[in-house]
Symmetry: none
Subunit: 408 residues, 2 copies
């Protein structure tokens, strides 16, 4: 079979059932404080009660042992084969800082760097403060509006990072990185991998030269490096494949962007600073829009953030805050509620990891009865077994009675 979605897509039927996919980013852990994972240490009465009436299993984001970034992690749980569908780093960087990318754009991830003539002295320009980054971007945007009829814009990121966006007809992204990847090396221009991208390469190289002129006397930021040139990926759209009105509820640009990329409606979530308030803001959006959609992707960010910070207790807190919202979500009576993560982020590791991710699927057809709790351990011996993340959507669709029988 070429593609799981080609196969499943042919079996999809429409009905009026509703599915909520609750994603706690980086949910999975590894035994840490007291030999427990964050999910085991958390007081999760509601999730445990739900687990008693649900199918449990483990989800492997890509393949055993593969640690995914947010892009492949999310594509998997959205039902896409994360090996077949790859999202360029330029696009992910753009999504991460909330830049809209259309089919006419080519974007790249940029570094501000310190040069000595043609030699790269410091690929990160001494990790400048955000204000310096913003100033450099403003300077560039004021001096360069377009090159050869193509609109040029840069957007500041954190420290030395920025995004270059080119907008115009006939742009292509088959370009090599204009980045030697190592301090002390000679700077690099981009080269076009094929004829189609020749014009784009010329524009990019003119941009690099103009930037080094503009930033000549600009302290440590005296030029730029560019990599991960990418266009908006061509991929089948989620709402069309699964024939569901699909909405995303997420607060961070990266996840809002990923949902937009696959064609979901991205709902506005009013910003609230504290953790519990932010989750309640998302729950309110879910309630207010419940009648308008068939499928909701509901994203919680900070389980991942605190895992990355190796902050065991703070990750436990976030899980408990989500647990307390479960009755509110269940009060909507979704036909299918899934609780999982896009990958594991154990505080023990302090970053994304390869560990399979706890998966709970609740519907009236659940083969429940094996588990008393929602944890890595109960999921490892659950009724679903261990599956690849790209199969989760098929299970949700089945539980929502949205798939026809295959073959007679």
């Amino acid at each position: 079979m070429d593609d799981i979605q080609d196969f499943v897509g042919k079996l999809v039927v429409k009905n009026d059932t509703k599915i909520i996919l609750l994603v706690m980013d980086g949910l999975g852990g590894a035994p840490n404080l007291g030999g427990m994972t964050e999910l085991e240490a958390a007081n999760t009465l509601n999730l445990d009660m739900l687990a008693k009436a649900s199918d449990l299993g483990l989800s492997v984001p890509v393949l055993p042992g593969i640690t995914p970034g947010s892009g492949p992690g999310h594509l998997g749980i959205f039902g896409y084969d994360p090996i077949k569908h790859q999202i360029g780093r330029g696009i992910l960087e753009a999504l991460g800082i909330g830049i809209a990318v259309s089919e006419k754009d080519v974007v790249a991830r940029g570094n501000f760097a310190t040069f000595d003539g043609e030699t790269v002295l410091d690929r990160r320009a001494g990790r400048p403060a955000t204000e310096e980054n913003v100033k450099a971007c403003q300077l560039i945007n004021s001096k360069i509006k377009e090159i050869e009829g193509v609109k040029v814009q840069v957007f500041p990121g954190v420290e030395h990072r920025f995004v270059l966006k080119l907008t115009g007809d006939g742009l292509a992204d088959n370009l090599t990185d204009a980045d030697p990847q190592k301090d002390g090396e000679k700077m690099l221009y981009t080269t076009s991998v094929n004829e189609e991208s020749r014009k784009t390469a010329e524009i990019v190289n003119k941009f690099i030269k103009q930037v080094s002129t503009i930033l000549k006397n600009n302290g440590k930021i005296t030029g730029c490096l560019l990599r991960g040139f990418s266009k908006h990926p061509v991929m089948p759209k989620f709402p069309q494949i699964y024939k569901m009105r699909s909405a995303a509820i997420a607060t961070y640009p990266m996840y809002r962007g990923l949902a937009k990329l696959v064609g979901m409606d991205v709902l506005e979530v009013p910003h609230v600073d504290d953790e519990a308030g932010s989750l309640q803001s998302e729950v309110k959006v879910l309630k207010d829009n419940y009648d308008k959609y068939d499928f909701f992707y509901f994203h919680v960010k900070h389980t991942d953030s605190y895992g990355e910070d190796s902050n065991f207790l703070a990750k436990v807190d976030v899980i408990e805050i989500v647990d307390r919202a479960i009755p509110q979500i269940m009060s909507l009576k979704p036909d299918v509620l899934a609780v999982t993560g896009d990958h594991s982020t154990p505080s023990l590791v302090g970053g994304h990891s390869w560990h399979p991710v706890p998966l709970l699927i609740h519907s009236k057809y659940s083969r429940y009865g094996l588990a008393e709790k929602f944890s890595e351990k109960t999921c490892a011996t659950g009724s679903i077994g261990t599956i690849e993340a790209k199969n989760i959507m098929t299970l949700l669709m089945a539980n929502a009675m949205r798939l026809e029988k295959y073959g007679a």
Copy 2:
């Protein structure tokens, strides 16, 4: 890997071990009465004793979340990739009513329908009684013997359904459905998808016209719709792949036909009306033929039928009847006995479902010791794990010491 059987086939060796594959159709359940599945509610002392000395696992018929029909369900447990090998609906309908299909035939699934001129008034002709269906088929068979040198036959099914069988040289099945799929629409003729099937399309369309003339004044049955044109699928034969003399013991035409399709010898089973008697009839055939074959596919139908009827207790009864026959089967001392289903049919769902199927494999090499019972729960935590159905045959062959080591 292109095909599991290409790979496994190269490792097959012959010996004198015997394998029995006991298939309880639709065996798997979901928690229903008392929070139990049918298999959990059944009193299965013999299967439970066997489970203590066996490998257990769950089998995913096609892919997680996919509900298979009987065709893909059986191909999987016979070791075929059910996505690569698809069996046309015409063939399955023909097998279901016990019509022999050879490599020279094209068959299609037919509906008797009510027409007003060229408009389809009722695609099911008011769901006629079987006698009316039989009468219409007799009338057609008496008037149409052949068209353009190709032999034409129709066979009655239930209510409005029948099977058209064309026999001759140079027939092909790349034909569109001659069925608008909706009442009130204009009737459709078939069209050939490629040049190879042009002649077959002409014959089919002449048949449709002749039938509407023959049935002009025949009450509600005034014409026909045809779909799922299919030839005998080209597939490697089970006895050749696995180098085993292979026999099928099944009472229903569909399963006898599926076994024949993959090249098994289909043994005659004397008909007995009651459930226990019917099973004993099958057991007797097994005993009588035990010395003549290496592999037995032994099929029990009514676990599925009662699941489809949402009849929890009747499905429990059938499982108990099978349980009581286990000592008789074990008394033959098969080297490998597997007990499983082709898919789940929970009475909770009232139809086939996507739930993984309990799988028990007993041999003297079983890694036993995990389970006290044979149930969905013990299978979910069994020593086999959760596997795709197409891998079951490899495990049976391994336990029968019929596979060589792969690589040195």
